[in-house]
Assembly symmetry: C2
Homo-oligomer: 184 residues x 2
């Protein structure tokens, strides 16, 4: 697929992301996505066979860490960048996909989510191991801390749809992760 095709797919994913965040998974139709993107049905189906394929691609998009470790950037810098991205996500309740994830999971996609979760965990474990190696991080139990980073984040994402957060909830997350990893 050419560059233009990739751009159209990106546009489709962005429009669909907002719809899933707003309505959950089940209520979103291909027609909704046509309306948001201005694509014809034929145009949309050329790229995606259904909402399921779009949703699964959105969830598979990942923070790129491996490249930065490869280039031997500082583990602390990589972590701070990720925490900054996460802080923004926590505060942006409109962009939470928690409900859509829930609904999609209930359609029987456990294996899919197990894969996504495993990959996310592996990514964090890699970064933690790298930072421990460079002595930027304390010698923590990397499995334990990556669980905390992931599920604490998910809890905040879910509750950001249920109640209003002030900036503090995100601050506390960042502060806790830092305390667990950095030497005083």
């Amino acid at each position: 697929m050419g560059n233009k095709g990739e751009k159209t797919k990106e546009k489709i994913r962005q429009a669909a992301y907002l719809l899933f965040a707003q309505k959950g998974f089940k209520a979103v139709t291909m027609t909704d996505i046509c309306e948001r993107t201005g694509l014809s049905r034929g145009g949309l189906y050329r790229y995606y066979s259904g909402t399921e394929q779009i949703f699964s691609e959105i969830l598979s998009e990942e923070y790129v860490i491996a490249d930065r470790i490869e280039r031997q950037e500082s583990a602390k810098t990589i972590l701070e960048d990720m925490l900054e991205a996460i802080r923004h996500e926590i505060m942006d309740k409109e962009l939470s996909l928690s409900l859509a994830i829930y609904e999609y999971a209930n359609l029987g996609n456990e294996e899919f989510f197990t894969n996504i979760n495993d990959r996310a965990k592996k990514r964090w474990i890699n970064l933690l191991n790298y930072g421990i190696e460079t002595k930027e991080f304390k010698a923590v139990d990397t499995e334990q801390i990556s669980d905390l980073i992931l599920y604490y984040y998910q809890g905040l994402r879910m509750w950001s749809r249920v109640i209003s957060f002030d900036e503090q909830a995100a601050e506390h997350y960042v502060k806790s992760v830092r305390q667990l990893l950095f030497r005083e």
Copy 2:
């Protein structure tokens, strides 16, 4: 209301809890609850005006901490008991109310959840302050650590419905909370 009335209400809440965990909030009807409890419609409505009232009472049930602090039990013992209860809850995906909470929140009950959340937070802050006073806990930022305890737990509860956990996810939670609070 007499002792028998309280027992019947308890029975209704238990039956309803299982239904909410299974089906979410919206799909559960008073008829479902009649069937599960064996009560007549008249019998059920004598105690509760609708599913909303039952759900809100279930969510308001609380771990009793204040009494134990009053009796000057060890903060460490109280904490360990709570962690043990939480560990069981995390592993029991059938009992997760996350989806029901989500649905109920989307019906516009933000204030209700803000109250529940505030109360839960206050309860944890009280326990943490008490343990810091008795020198059983480290002098942590109690707001920060109670956020972690609450939202990390919620993330685990939500994901326990999405993927299968092994015992480890709950272990990691307990281990992290202990490390944050206990002196080595």
